[in-house]
């Protein structure tokens, strides 16, 4: 079980995050699709507004202190290895985003604004995550078994 203070802070951050998705109308697929159809470019303000705030935190806070007060974890930037999965996955995600106008965080927020029809979207996301997870887990297990045989 994760430390209660961590959970409380994550919840508070989630509330701000979800409020922002509601206030910016990103929780409405129609508004996201209006951007993707190049009709209303407001989404750029949401994305850059958010990235500027987090960018400031990621840049400034590690210079002020070494570890996070609640967990004692060292501050790290969010860095992932750039490989072909980043491109392929981004492409598949892009098709889904363009088709539906939803992304994971916005879909959860959409439920919060009462849009119960979004349960279709959330069910689809879980199904997609499940299928790729099962396929990739068994592929990983096979690789491991093959290596053990050698």
């Amino acid at each position: 079980m994760t430390d209660r203070r961590v959970l409380a802070l994550v919840y508070a951050g989630g509330v701000l995050f979800g409020f922002g998705l509601g206030f910016s109308h990103m929780a409405r697929p129609e508004v996201v699709l209006s951007f993707l159809e190049l009709y209303d470019f407001g989404l750029l303000f949401v994305m850059f507004g958010a990235a500027i705030v987090t960018g400031t935190a990621y840049f400034a806070v590690p210079r002020l202190r070494d570890t996070a007060p609640i967990t004692g974890s060292a501050y790290a930037r969010r860095l992932k290895t750039l490989d072909k999965n980043v491109v392929i996955g981004g492409g598949i995600f892009g098709v889904g985003w363009g088709l539906s106008g939803i992304c994971p965080g916005a879909a959860y927020a959409s439920l919060g604004i009462g849009n119960y029809i979004m349960l279709y979207g959330v069910a689809g996301m879980f199904a997609g995550a499940y299928v790729q997870g099962v396929v990739r887990s068994s592929a990983a297990d096979e690789t491991k078994a093959a290596t053990a045989d050698d």
Partner: protein, 159 residues
């Protein structure tokens, strides 16, 4: 100039910018307090670890509790917005099949691609991560292409 702004932003920019700042504050609060980069799509796999033994899901076991809480926070925060500013529920007119099929591809793509609009788009770009900038450029350009094709088929929803 004024005219150009009205063409690019027919619904204004205020609520977009303010909403974006709140999204950033939420991610920043979690980062400052805990050192965690909060992403929304890992929740899909970490939550599946409660019901599946597959190794892809089980690897997220240590973080699954806070990820459930993060998602509950997102739902709650959006509900606060709905109660205070929206005054009642709001329902989408995007067809369920598009949500379901799009959702499926998002479930696959965000997990294969190591993140979504929050992990790569907000935290990753905020970290000036090369992988995140590439991922965002790919999903953004492809999504625009798909949405324009849908619109050309008479399935556009822009308003």
């Amino acid at each position: 100039m004024q005219e150009l702004i009205e063409i690019l932003f027919p619904n204004g920019v205020f609520h977009y910018a303010v909403g974006g700042i709140f999204v950033g504050l939420g991610a920043a609060l979690i980062y400052v307090g805990t050192g965690i980069s909060a992403g929304a799509s890992t929740f899909l796999e970490s939550t599946l670890s409660y019901v599946s033994d597959a190794s892809r899901f089980q690897q997220y076991r240590p973080s699954r509790d806070w990820r459930v809480v993060f998602t509950l926070g997102i739902v709650s925060g959006a509900a606060v917005y709905a109660v205070v500013f929206q005054g009642g529920i709001w329902l989408t007119e995007v067809e369920p099949w598009r949500l379901l099929a799009g959702g499926f591809l998002i479930g696959v793509g965000t997990r294969v691609g190591k993140g979504c609009t929050s992990g790569h788009g907000v935290c990753g770009v905020g970290s000036a991560s090369g992988a995140s900038i590439v991922n965002v450029a790919v999903f953004l350009s492809i999504a625009v292409g798909v949405a324009l094709v849908m619109a050309s088929l008479g399935l556009g929803v822009a308003r």
